[in-house]
Structures are given as C-alpha cells and as structure tokens.
C-alpha cells in the first residue's frame, strides 16, 4: 500500500465516528459593503490606507498621457506582456531584474480588500522586481468584494494570480514597519474609465 492509500485509509477509519458537518454556503461578509455604491472609490480608500497610490483617469488616451509624464522620472522600464501597445511608456525597455519601473496590465481589482489582481500571463517578474510598479486597471474590472473577484478569475485561471494590496512591507526588524523589502516599495493603481 502506498503512503497515499494508508493516509486515506486512516482518515476513512475515523470519519464515521465524526458527525458530518454541512458546508455553510457562500461567505456573506458584511453583506452590503460600506461604500458599495461607489466601488472604485471604495477600492481607492482601501488601497491608499495600505500605502498604495491611486490615479484615476477618464480614458485610455489620458492614461497614456499620465503614464508618459510619470515615466519621464525613470531611466528604464519593464512592461507586462498584455499591456496595450499604445500604453507602453517611451522608455528604454529593460529586463525586470534591472528595470527602474514596472508597468503591468491588471486583470482587475477588489474594493473591500484594496487589492490589485495580477495575472501570470502578463509576467510575474515585472510585477515583483522593479522598485516602482504601476498597474493599469479598467474601471469596469474593479469588483466590490473578493468573492465577486474570485468568481470572475476562477473561470480562467493562469498558473498564478497575485493579489497585491499595497507596497511590500515588513515589521520584522524591531517591530518597525518598513516598505520595499522584496517587492516594490511604491505601487500605483492607474484606474482607467
């Protein structure tokens, strides 16, 4: 018998003596979110509280203009594989290991947790290695709850999804919070639409 079969056999030997517990059904959270009427606003509040920055623009054209302006402060950029061509900043493109700026296309965002949803197909290293990270999200992809967002992504799961909810932080040195430990120390959500 394999380890697998022995483990399952031991589990099955015990379970008849344990009362079956039913699954309680979907997680309801706080039912109506505090700012459910303004989902992008709710996202902004939560993401900012965690140390992230939020920029909201009305159209892809304005996003591209804002990005060009912002990128001017950097020497090199690494960009996500699914970023629309007209949004790629006019910078020297560098591998994520050395790029000063990372620009990713976000799969979406979650208001209640203040999270950006990042898809492996856009490139994991660009999401993690450059010290500053800009993530584009279409306003219609901002979900109110994590349950909504997970339901949405579960229909098309890549090898990895990352939820990023602010800059990298740690309080492991003397309980004092510092940012930018491994991931980006500065992260901006660029909400378009």
């Amino acid at each position: 018998m394999s380890a697998r079969d022995r483990i399952l056999e031991r589990v099955r030997a015990v379970l008849p003596s344990r009362e079956d517990a039913a699954h309680p059904g979907p997680f309801l959270g706080w039912r109506a979110g505090p700012l459910a009427s303004d989902v992008p606003g709710w996202f902004s509040e939560m993401f900012t509280k965690a140390g992230g920055e939020v920029v909201r623009v009305g159209s892809p054209g304005l996003a591209s203009a804002w990005l060009a302006d912002f990128a001017a402060g950097f020497g090199t950029a690494s960009v996500g594989a699914t970023l629309p061509a007209d949004l790629i900043p006019q910078l020297a493109i560098a591998p994520p290991e050395v790029a000063e700026l990372g620009v990713s296309m976000g799969r979406g965002a979650v208001a209640e947790t203040g999270s950006l949803i990042l898809d492996a197909r856009d490139g994991r290293r660009t999401q993690l290695l450059p010290p500053t990270h800009v993530v584009l999200v279409r306003v219609e992809d901002v979900h109110a709850t994590l349950a909504d967002a997970l339901d949405h992504v579960s229909h098309d799961l890549p090898s990895a999804v990352g939820l990023h909810s602010g800059p990298s932080k740690s309080a492991d040195i003397g309980q004092i919070t510092v940012t930018g430990v491994h991931g980006p120390g500065r992260v901006l959500a660029l909400i378009v639409g």
Partner: protein, 464 residues
Amino acid sequence: MSRGRPAGYARAAADTIRNKPQIRSAVTAATKSFDAHRREAWSQIDVDAWRDWCRDVKQHVVTHLDRYLEEAEAKLLANGVRVHWAESAEEALAVLGAVVDEAGIRRVVKAKSMLTEELGVNEYLEGRGVHVRETDLGEYIIQLLGEPPSHIVGPAIHRSLDDSRRLFHEHFGTPMDSSPEALAATARQALREEFLAADLGISGGNFLVAETGTLALIENEGNIRLSTSAPPVHVAFVGIEKLLPRIADLSGFLQITARAATGQPIGNYVSLISGPRRAGEIDGPETVHVVLVDNGRTRLLGEDVAWEALRCVRCGACLNICPVYRQTGGHPYGFTYSGPIGAILAPGLLGLEEAMPLPFASSLCGACADVCPVRIPIPDILLHWRERAVEAGLVPASERLGMRAYAALAERPRAFAAAGAGLRFVPWALGGRALPVLGGWSGERAPPELSPRPFHRLWKEGIE
C-alpha cells in the same frame, strides 16, 4: 537551529524570565500590538458571523477530508502539478531529496512556512550540502542567528532593533546606528541575488482549494511570490488539513486570517498558484510539486476532543493574547508551534508523553478561545489533555497529591475556610515555595497583596 524538547519547558521558561528580561519585553510589546490591531480590525466586521462561517467550513472539510483530498489530488494532477503524499517527516524529506537529485538542485530559497520547520527541511538540505536561504526578513534574521522561530507569524518578534543592528553589523559591516530602512535595504539586496540564483523555491501553503487545485499563500513582503515565481522548480509542503472545498471559500478565509493575525484586511501579497508555467506565459517555474503531509494529523483526527484543533489557520491570535506566551515567546515550548495552539497540537502530533508538560503551560484564562477565528475550544482541549495526562500517570506525584488534597478541602467548606485562613500566615518566601503546585509558581513571582478580609467572609457579609 536546535529547538529543544517540550520536557525542558519549565526550565527554559524560568531561564528566559530570569536571565533574558529583554525577550519578555519584546514579545509582550509585539503581541500586544498585534492584538490591538486585531481588535480594531474585528470591530469593523460582523465578527461573530464571520467566525461561525469559518468554523463551519473547516468543520465540513475535516469531516469530509478523504473526499477533498482526492478531489484536490485529481485537480492538481490535471493542472500539471506533481503530487506526493508523506506519512511522516522522513517521507516528506525523502520526496524533497528525490527532487533535489533529479533536478540537480544546489541553491534553495525558502518562503516562510511552519510545516517546513516541523519537518526539519533546512537541516535536511544543509546535511546534503544544499545551500538554503530563508527569505522572509524575520526568518532570515533568525537563520543568521541560528535560532528557530519564536512566533508562527512574526518569527523574530523576540529580537529588538538593536539585536538586528548588531547582527547586520557582524554580517555586512553596516553601521551600528543603521535605520530599520537601511537594514531592510541591505537584506533586500543580499536576498535579491539569492532569488535570482536559486534553482528551487520551497513554500508551505495556507490553503489548498480542492475545486481548482489552487494553492493559496499569504504574506507581506513579496518573498513568497518571488520564491514561487523566480526559480525553475517549486516544492510546496501542505498539511492534509489545509483544504478548502471551493475557490469562493477563500474570500472569507483570506480576509479573516489577515484580520486575526495582523489586523490587515488581507495579506499584502496573496499568491494563488494553480500549476507550473503554461504555454504562452513568459515566466514562472516549469515544475511544481505539492507534498501532502500527514505527520501526525490523522492521529490527531482520531482524538475525540482534540481533533477540532485541525481547523487551525495558524493566525497566531491565540499566542498574541496569551498571558503565558507573552512572558517567554515561543522558544521554551520546545516545539514548532508554541502558545495555546502549540499546547493542544503537541500531544496530538507528538504523543502525550513527548508533549508533556505543554498542556499545563496555560492559566486556562480562556482568552485564546475568545479570539480564535475558527472557534477552536482551546481551554477545553487543554483540560482534556491534562485529564489524560493524570490518567496516564504523567503528572508529578506531588502535584497529584496536592490536587487531591485541594479537592478534599474544597468539598468541605469549614476546612477550606480554615486552610485559607492558615495560608494567610505562611511566609511567601519560605512556605510558598514549599507548598505543592504553588511552589514552582511562587518561586518566580512577587507575593500577591492579600485583601484584609478573606473572600468567603466578604461573600457572607455582602461585598460593598
């Protein structure tokens, strides 16, 4: 990185309190701050309903564990993950050894994981000449110090800023007055090289979703995302109790775990990993292994009272609020898991005799049960293990006699009052130490201030 054994608890705890007062102050400050954040985060939600829901989902999983293990295995395999099962630490390490041999692994980066501590992964790899580097900043600090973690969420909470300054000065020559930011930047640079040079990343798993074969990992620094993204091979060790039925269930668990642990609405980074790099993806590991580990968990499942401990999500909230844990931190417990959860897991995972005296390392104040997000009845389980220990003759004779004498007195009101009155005149320094049970206790403490009249008299006369 020796961890000692539970049997050394009393001596190690006394030594910490007497000779390392800085540990008590660092641990107390850190846990109080964690707990204050939890309280604030819980005040924002319908916490009782959330806790009920989380308890019920976990109870459902544990009572249908075989079904979800099989479903998860099938999904993982379909996703291209290589699935292994391990009954013991030795078997889990043998799986890792085979991966190391097959892929010619020389350098490993590790994401923080209590299960890999439990299994002894670092010692095993080092013994095989493999370079292994912890990448969570707290884990990195204690790895450089040669210590095990002191807390399941904040492994280095027993160390002060000055301790880290000294450590970094010795290793990197940074100035003794470096800011925390400067120290973190030094670590970032050193570890960045490790991530990019590693041929294997090792992680644990907070949750494993059966429906989709998705592993969920929670962290704040980004080191877990990097450890599971940069190296070409990823091995995840997952306890068999870590399953969740559906991906939708993560919505409750990711939120309550973070709120219970640090008061955040969600961990700063969550990785949802559903397999190796796919065609069309530009990076990520080519091979992902998931090792499903028993190592005593099915034994715990067979325990009629203690089995409820299998719901634990390792948030650390019970450690943070525990007045006993706060005095010493985790090291004296001599077991991977410390504090209240450690005291109830140890007898289940190690066997009661080996776990002694951990079920007694508690004042039974009940605070842990009030904060546990999955409502594990920790004090009931502690009492259960204590009863079992007494039955098995694992409790010192003096303590058993003392308890029996106390029970006899407590049943006779007059004798109880007389004994109580007598106790008021026992000099603390001499008599207190000689008394059974109280002896060990009074040795480490200042005498209590007695009220001018005994409680039973106040009670009779009516307390003003």
